[in-house]
Amino acid sequence: MVPLSWYLALSAVLFTIGVAGVLIQRNAIVLFMCIELMLNSVNLTLVAFSRFLGDVTGQLFVFIVMVVAAAEAAVGLAIIIALFRTRETLNVDEADLLKL
């Protein structure tokens, strides 16, 4: 049986990589993908605990998190498309003023 701490360690590593990506990346879409990576690592933690405690609530929570991530991805990408149309760039460093 794989110990619980291994799953938690993997989840922490993936979460850290996601945070590093959010801080490093300048492309808006790749930034979004790093946020999805963080959400996925949290899903792994939830499912691991659900298995080790024998409770299905963890998996239900994962279901809700997936739905929220899907909704957030759709709306976020729509915002990025609208932003791209006016500014012609996806670099988040350049989007630092409300004026174009």
Binding site: L8, L10, C34, N40, S50, Q59, V75
Partner: protein, 201 residues
């Protein structure tokens, strides 16, 4: 190392999926071409689905592939292709000293995580395995039916919101906005400027 003698095939599966997931995650943040980052993220999601299978959560594993790898990432890749995002030119880092701060902080975080995990210990897996569709459905439609209904409203909001945000304004809408502004007696220079900007965008 006597621990190696106790290794089982489930450990091997975990190590294979986990190492592939970590390599692909590094790929996501370090690649310059966004399509390669997206492919890295798809690999991470499929590896996580494999890990969910090792945790006997087969419903969540199937949903992970259908929703995340099969729909959300398709959306991401579509947007990258439609916006024709090219490789990034390597610009000069404005804050080079952050690199020297990042690595020690990362090592400190790893040390903290290891310390916390030592106190967690190794609980044995529970006897009841709640991974089947029947058990998830039983939980969802009895105790947690309110969050379920709330998520359906959330998805409806996301559909309407993303359609409103991402579409172009048609000519009739531009004329309507102009007419409304003129009827409200706005000064004419602002009406012409805003109509020019809307036609450009």
């Amino acid at each position: 190392m006597e621990q190696f003698a106790q290794i089982q095939v489930s450990h091997l599966f975990f190590l294979a999926f986990a190492s592939l997931a970590v390599v692909a995650a590094f790929n996501v943040i370090l690649q310059r071409n966004p399509i390669y980052s997206a492919i890295g993220l798809i690999v991470v999601m499929c590896c996580l689905a494999g890990l969910f299978l090792t945790l006997a959560a087969e419903f969540i594993a199937a949903i992970q592939i259908i929703v995340y790898a099969g729909a959300i990432m398709v959306l991401f890749v579509f947007v990258i292709m439609l916006l024709n995002v090219r490789e990034e030119d390597a610009k000069a880092d404005r804050q080079k000293y952050l690199k020297f701060l990042a690595v020690p902080l990362f090592l400190a975080m790893i040390a903290e995580v290891m310390a916390v995990l030592k106190t967690v210990g190794n609980p044995t897996a529970s006897e009841t395995v709640p991974g089947t569709v029947e058990s998830v459905a039983e939980g969802m439609f009895t105790n947690y039916v309110l969050p379920f209904e709330a998520t359906s409203v959330l998805i409806l909001m996301a559909i309407v919101g993303s359609m409103m945000l991402a579409r172009r304004e048609s000519k009739e809408e531009t004329d309507d906005i102009e007419a409304a502004l003129t009827a409200a007696n706005q000064p004419t220079e602002i009406v012409e400027e805003s109509s020019e900007e809307e036609v450009h965008a």
